[in-house]
């Protein structure tokens, strides 16, 4: 569809992708591409002025365009275009002159019996998304189109379309702006698919393009799955629809790959078809076969004109882009010394708390970013309750040895519990967390050695495990106030 395919052979475009683990089963690998539909966070619909709002009373957000009434004409929402551009730029796409086409098909939730969608010329083309571990997923296109209404199936077996007595249609969602982001068939592991969806969601939220709630359907994932012997040509693929959580993305792909492998091994053909992921039984089921080939009769929408954002608009949108999750992880990683794809860095950025952590590092009282990261990761409420300056003070106390790690954790808990009006020094004092002087600590260490000669002997003989008993005794004697690091240092000192 896009003008110039980036690869002839999918394997050699991003050579570093080969360094990443591939899922394999019975000598086959999976080839996966994802199509993700996201609803844009506009006030109004793509082509009309009724509200784009989830959860309203049925058929209240309707107008002649939304209902496809005779004589109605679409007018494009500028903000939807701008949000699509933001997303495209965040995905390293070329933002380009684009046109709208009609995709003709009859379905009761599609009011005009055609969907207005970008076909030959999408607004975003040829980009990529780097996963946190460095795996690069090629993006073929990210085009604008309108959403459909919603059908509810009444009667029959539990709201299923098959066997229902009739259906009811709500057009509130019809005409809501969507961007459909289509990847190249680069994905080789269910975890990559999951990571892609998570990372895409983070980007969507970061640039303000969508709230990307899979549970509300504002982000919907379809997966194209095929399998092959490594290095062989692409095989027939199946499209899996209705995958509505990150976890399901991994499960559905793995199930479908194994299903196809079983078919290949049995010498049976894989039929190109659309399949439906059933969360309940953990299987994919035939939705419809592509044999009765769709004939959408695409042609340029005569009621709309070309959209050509031009360099000025594109550069303004680019300049206004907020830092993306990957950049933010890199910044936090650099300041904290933790790897960018470590759990702490990933989680804290995901929770939008990286700025808070970094603020600790630049606080006047010289906070420690690594310690702040640890505390914020463990206590998600910190950032909303405790000013960065106070956390900075605490990390300074901790890094200087004024309080131990255990004590610092207790102080964090009490700050969150409401003691945050007091500064950490005051809380430490109130809790009796005084840093011990060295002579006091040394006498406690000596006492522990005296009490446990066997452990001491083992420790001196190089059995590291024996240290635990000695440190534990000191901690007990100090009622937890001793700094574990200082105790270890003293023990090592005495051994030599």
């Amino acid at each position: 569809m896009s003008a110039q395919p980036l690869y002839v052979n999918d394997d050699d475009f991003f050579p570093s992708n080969d360094e990443h683990e591939k899922w394999t089963h019975a000598g086959y690998e999976m080839v996966v591409g994802l199509e993700v539909h996201v609803e844009l966070a506009t006030q109004t619909k793509l082509f009309s002025a009724s509200p784009n709002r989830f959860g309203d009373e049925p058929n209240t957000n309707i107008d002649p365009v939304t209902l496809g009434l005779p004589g109605a004409l679409p007018v494009l929402n500028r903000h939807a275009v701008e949000l699509a551009m933001r997303l495209g730029l965040a995905l390293n796409c070329t933002v380009q002159k684009s046109t709208f086409a009609r995709k003709n098909y009859f379905y009761p939730d599609m009011p005009k019996a055609y969907q207005i969608s970008q076909y030959d010329e999408p607004i975003n083309a040829d980009g990529w998304l780097d996963l946190p571990d460095g795996f690069r997923v090629g993006i073929e296109r990210g085009h604008l189109e309108e959403d459909t209404g919603k059908s509810t199936h009444i009667g029959g077996a539990g709201g299923r379309i098959h066997g229902s007595d009739y259906s009811l249609i709500d057009f509130n969602r019809a005409g809501v702006p969507l961007v459909e982001i289509v990847t190249r068939p680069d994905i080789r592991h269910p975890e990559q698919a999951k990571a892609y969806v998570s990372e895409l969601r983070s980007i969507l939220v970061a640039v303000g393009a969508s709230d990307a709630k899979m549970e509300e359907g504002s982000m919907r994932v379809d997966a194209n799955v095929s399998v092959r012997k490594p290095g062989a040509d692409f095989n027939t693929r199946c499209e899996i629809k209705n995958v509505n959580s990150v976890r399901s993305v991994g499960r559905a792909i793995e199930y479908e790959a194994k299903r196809q492998i079983a078919l290949h091994e049995a010498g049976e053909p894989v039929i190109q078809q659309t399949r439906h992921w059933d969360e309940n039984d953990g299987k994919t089921h035939t939705l419809r076969s592509k044999e009765d080939a769709d004939d959408y009769r695409y042609f340029l929408e005569p009621d709309l004109v070309t959209v050509d954002p031009g360099p000025e608009w594109i550069e303004r949108v680019r300049a206004e882009l907020p830092p993306l999750p990957a950049e933010r992880r890199a910044a936090l990683s650099a300041s904290s010394g933790q790897p960018a794809n470590s759990e702490a860095v990933m989680q804290v950025v995901e929770r939008d708390q990286d700025a808070y952590v970094l603020e600790v590092g630049t606080a006047a009282n010289g906070g420690d970013v690594a310690l702040a990261l640890k505390h914020v990761k463990e206590a998600p409420d910190l950032s909303t309750v405790v000013p960065a300056g106070r956390l900075a003070a605490l990390t300074a106390m901790e890094s200087s040895g004024a309080v131990t790690a255990t004590q610092a954790k207790t102080i964090v808990e009490s700050m969150i519990a409401g003691e945050h009006e007091r500064d950490p020094e005051a809380i430490a004092a109130a809790l009796g967390f005084e840093a011990m002087d060295t002579s006091e600590l040394e006498s406690m260490v000596d006492a522990a050695i005296a009490e446990q000669p066997e452990a001491w002997a083992k420790f001196c003989a190089g059995e590291g495990k024996a240290m635990g008993a000695l440190v534990g005794a000191v901690m007990k004697a100090s009622k937890g106030q001793a700094d574990g690091k200082a105790v270890t240092a003293l023990l090592n000192q005495k051994k030599s």
């Binding site: 506009t42 006030q43 109004t44 009309s48 002025a49 009724s50 509200p51 009373e57 049925p58 058929n59 209240t60 957000n61 309707i62 107008d63 002649p64 209902l67 007018v75 494009l76 929402n77 500028r78 903000h79 939807a80 275009v81 098909y105 009859f106 379905y107 009761p108 059908s151 509810t152 199936h153 379309i161 098959h162 229902s164 007595d165 009739y166 259906s167 009811l168 249609i169 709500d170 057009f171 659309t274 939705l287 419809r288 009765d292 769709d294 004939d295 009769r297 340029l300 005569p302 709309l304 004109v305 070309t306 959209v307 050509d308 954002p309």
Partner: protein, 114 residues
Amino acid sequence: MAGGAVEGVDSLDRVSDRISTADVSKVATLARLTLTDDELATATTELGAMLDHFAEIDALDLDGVEPMNNPTNLVNVMRDDVVGETLDRDEVLAAAPMAEDDRFRVPPIIGLDD
């Protein structure tokens, strides 16, 4: 017409390719129209005659001609993202062929491509 049907134009992608009953039947299904056998035969003859006439454009050299989709050269016609008037639900549903529970009612959805 100025051109008239041209002899010797021989290409599979040309207008002069004849339409078959099967083509017309497939087209009717795509367009959601039912044709009796008689209507199908008549439609095939009529469409065939029209396509014969339209074959005059097979003679034209159209290589490099930019297709014309619309007379306007307008670009970037857009509106602000501001909520406007909506239709009254009850009025709209009252005019619908069938409605129930604030929604449009249709018979069971089977036999449709999704």
